[in-house]
């Protein structure tokens, strides 16, 4: 808006310049959908190291990054493969430090959401009634239990510290070149993650004119002024789903789950789908008809909303 589209850049450059070794990174925060796997793969190609993945769920993305040696810490609620279950790379790293150890900062989905909300909105902490009685309070010393200062009777409350990720990468159905984006369907922790992060990369399934986004400001989940870079990456969330755009490629994730059972199998998978594929465009070409079959072709349009002022 009112300026050059200087945020629009290539996926390679966004990852090279905005995600640094040692960063804490959110790769998708909608839980199961809209996970920017294209960035997961590019992080692996660029051999980033020491990443701390802040992940509510993010399906198999975190498991891939651990296996590839990029992620050495997890600050999150769940790491595995949503349809397959266990994450084999996560297991190997936690159980036998293969290919390396992984530091685990345990959260639950709600406490992670409240931590990101606290980060987004400058709250000193977020008080929650969850985690009481859970050993997560023991495995992660970042939480603090206090007696509710507002209560006359003893009432333990868990204080969750704010989380401010270095980078959040969020896949959206459409954005303009300044990072103003529309998102619909369930959003998990995406709003909190975008507003809490120091840098935001938007992975747009489609780049549209600013007028399209401005036509519906209530569909904006986070404003363009928090966005550092916008990448045009059609199907950048494959194999995860995106409302109205892409079905989930469950077979792909199941195949990953099977192949990653062994380190050799994982390396073979990585070679085939990531390391021997130069970029996202080549990945899409490799998927070919399979990707086309995942494209949602039907129409179930939202009822019109009018913003006219006169």
């Amino acid at each position: 808006m009112g300026g050059m589209a200087d945020k629009l850049c290539q996926l390679k450059d966004a990852v090279a310049e905005l995600i640094r070794d040692g960063d804490s990174v959110v790769l998708g925060a909608c839980l199961e959908p809209n996970i920017p796997f294209a960035v997961t793969y590019e992080l692996i190609r660029q051999a980033k190291r020491g990443l701390n993945m802040i992940a509510p769920i993010s399906d198999a993305s975190t498991d891939m990054l651990i296996g590839a040696g990029c992620a050495t810490a997890v600050t999150g609620a769940w790491v595995g493969n949503v349809s397959g279950g266990l994450g084999h790379n996560y297991r190997r790293a936690a159980e036998t430090a293969q290919p390396h150890a992984v530091r685990i900062n345990d959260f639950s989905n709600f406490s992670l959401g409240m931590a990101l909300m606290a980060g987004a909105y400058g709250m000193p902490f977020a008080p929650v009634r969850s985690l009481l009685g859970s050993d997560i309070l023991k495995s992660n010393p970042a939480f603090k239990v206090i007696d509710n200062p507002m209560s006359a009777v003893r009432e333990p409350i868990v204080l969750v510290p704010p989380l401010k990720p270095d980078v959040a990468v969020l896949a959206v159905p459409r954005a303009d070149a300044e990072g103003n984006a529309h998102v619909w369907g369930s959003t998990g922790l995406a709003q909190e993650a975008a507003l809490a992060a120091r840098r935001v990369i938007v992975l747009a399934d489609e780049i549209v004119a600013p007028e399209i986004i401005a036509s519906d400001p209530s569909r904006v989940l986070f404003p363009g002024f928090v966005v550092s870079a916008v990448v045009d990456a059609h199907a950048g969330c494959h194999p995860s789903p995106m409302a109205g755009r892409w079905k989930r490629d469950t077979a792909f994730l199941d195949d990953y789950h099977e192949q990653s059972r062994t380190p050799d199998g994982f390396r073979a998978w990585l070679g085939e789908w990531v390391l021997s594929v130069p970029d996202h465009a080549a990945y899409c070409r490799k998927l070919g008809d399979r990707l086309e079959a995942l494209r949602i072709r039907g129409a179930a349009l939202a009822a019109p909303a009018n913003y006219a002022s006169a």
Binding site: L31, P56, D106, S134, D135, L189
Partner: protein, 251 residues
Amino acid sequence: MSFSTQELMIVAAAREIRDRELVFVGMRLPIMAFGVARLSHAPRAVGLFECGVVRYAPADGTLHTMADPPNQLGAAWTTGTVQVMGLMQGGRVDAGFIGGAEIDRYGNLNTSYIGGIERPKVKLPGSGGAADIAAMAKRLLVIMNHEKHRFVERVGFVTSPGWLAGGEARRRAGLAQGGPAAVITDRAVLRPHGPDHELHLASVHPGQTIDGVRAATGWDLKCLPGAGETPAPGERELAALHTIDKDGFWR
């Protein structure tokens, strides 16, 4: 009428949902259970999913994850995790379903670490939303397979608090409400009993025996007074299930 064990589990789980209740629904069997309840005895139950989906009618289409496009289409509300879990923290959610890798005598669940935190024997995926549902839903409903190494005296790590050490332990920990109300397995239904809240055998599934269930349980499982056989799915329940399970995946 024939039915599979999984179908029986789904129907038994569906029966735990009452009409007009708000239910936090987990993946796989619970999502089917919610659908069966809606289409049989609980036409005004509401399903909440931690990704931020709230639904009245069950989704039309197979779901591999709770956020798959069929679960978004025609939802009552698509919003964020903080909103739906916040409603649960506020005491609005009547029941929540979770599973687990390990459960103990008091309904505590482990989905985090088996064999210690530092170098675990098995690193499980972690809580996801399970710890929150166990802490904040007014009733916790558990679905899992019944195997001796999963039904243990005491879980090594409490991801999702049940009745903790039993008795008033849960309340003393600061959890003002909730706690496991039923554990539905592939062999039986267990329920907490008495002021101690220890899980007892409430019913055994057709084809199972009390001794068999006890042998698959890692603690000295007691029977509820009057424990009998889990009622088989009724015609209406199976019809509802077959309406949802178009592909016969759960048969």
